[in-house]
């Protein structure tokens, strides 16, 4: 089992695990509350909820172009 390559690999694994252990974790109920609040606060900016004029709508049926 000795050999510098496996030590290097192990060091990478430990570093990755340290990164993962250090991630700030939030309780699921808190995350759900935050998600819900975000959606409610930004509902006005959401075109799928509030609709938008046909001139801005990038998905409106396109007029056919023709060569002059």
């Amino acid at each position: 089992m000795s050999g510098s390559s496996s030590v290097v690999a192990m060091k990478k694994i430990v570093q990755q695990l340290r990164l993962e252990a250090g991630i700030n974790r939030v309780k699921v109920s808190q995350a759900a509350a935050d998600l819900q609040q975000f959606c409610l606060q930004n509902a006005q900016q959401d075109s799928l909820l509030t609709g938008m004029s046909s001139s801005n709508n990038p998905f409106r049926p396109q007029k056919v172009c023709s060569f002059l």
């Binding site: 309780k27 808190q30 759900a32 819900q36």
Partner: protein, 329 residues
């Protein structure tokens, strides 16, 4: 009469949830542990269902899981022929207790000093956790695999249910069998309510209530479908049951009347337990989820908030998560 209820669905397990247990009420609230065939029992906050941690170490399906009263220790029973004791605060494995066959059930005494285990080797074992190296006391007698074992009568006696269709009451000091109840069919679950010394047993479509000291029958109630687990409310006004038709049933304990039934799970319900304060009950299912159900639907508790119908155009109770608590009358 039929009230709709949105349960809190706790996902995370990848295989059927076969057992669950609540701790007592601690200064940090109460906790819930779930045993799953994926081998990774999980600890959750009891009133919100928030995942706290997963106990890693078992190499097989975990069949039984329990917490001690103050939720500082956890114990699990698994198909890898071991029972493990864990530090529930750090998640570390504290003890591994080797057995000769699949371990199905584990339970602490009230003082958390002893652990009772049982499983497919048909033996009841009592471990002294202050001296874990010592050999456990063994009680033999059952003629087939033991499904559930519990301390009762202030930890002076033991109740065990096995596939030999019997439930046996044992005296701890003499290690002798005191009484046996025989059934026509295998008992699917057993719950002990210390306050009042009541034993809740399920078999077939029946939920039966016995006096835990004398093993005299108090009453039986028939459910619409085969029942896998039932739990009695701490105040003994209701009991809940779940089984093969995926539904949760709520019954009045005194009148035996079926009050409510709730759909939600996508598979048979394997275990049902009331929380220590009786405000909610948790169910574990073949579908791999746990669901938390309110006892008093519409009440504000935990993540449930009562919202009046005119505010949402919906039913009189909704689940809402808010950062600023608004209690509407």
């Amino acid at each position: 009469m039929a009230m709709r209820q949105t349960p809190l669905t706790c996902s995370g397990h990848t295989r059927p949830v076969v057992d669950l247990a609540f701790s007592g009420i601690t200064p940090y609230g109460y906790f819930l542990i779930s045993a799953c065939k994926d081998g990774k029992p999980m600890l959750r906050q009891g009133d919100t269902g928030d995942w706290i941690g997963t106990f890693l170490g078992h190499k097989g399906a975990v069949w039984g899981a329990t917490l001690n009263t103050d939720a500082t220790k956890a114990a699990t029973a698994a198909a890898d022929f071991t029972a493990k004791v864990w530090d529930a605060v750090s998640g570390d494995e504290v003890l591994t207790l080797a057995h000769k066959h699949i371990v199905k059930t584990v339970t602490f005494t009230q003082d958390s000093n002893c652990l009772l285990t049982a499983g497919n080797d048909k033996l009841l074992r009592i471990y002294d956790l202050s001296n874990p190296e010592a050999a456990p006391l063994e009680i033999a007698g059952h003629t087939s695999a033991i499904k559930k074992a519990l301390w009762c009568n202030n930890d002076k006696q033991i109740l065990s249910a096995a596939d030999d269709k019997t439930i046996r009451l044992w005296d701890r000091s003499s290690m002798e069998e005191v009484k046996t109840l025989t059934f026509d069919t295998s008992v699917s679950s057993m719950e002990y309510v210390a306050d009042g010394e009541i034993l809740v047993i399920t078999y077939g479509k029946t939920i039966a209530f016995y006096n835990a000291l004398s093993l005299d029958l108090i009453k039986t109630v028939e459910a619409p479908a085969p029942i896998n687990s039932a739990s009695l409310h701490p105040e003994k006004d209701f009991f809940v049951a779940g089984g093969e038709d995926f539904k949760l049933y709520k019954f009045d304990y005194s009148t035996k009347e079926e009050l409510e039934s709730y759909k939600g799970h996508f598979g048979p319900v394997h275990c049902v337990r009331f929380s220590p304060d009786g405000e909610l009950y948790a169910s574990g299912s073949e579908d791999g989820t746990l669901r938390l159900w309110q006892t008093a639907v519409g009440k504000t508790y935990g993540l449930w908030k009562c919202v009046l119908p005119e505010d949402l155009g919906a039913e009189n109770s909704e689940q809402m998560y808010t950062s600023a608590p608004e209690i509407k009358a």
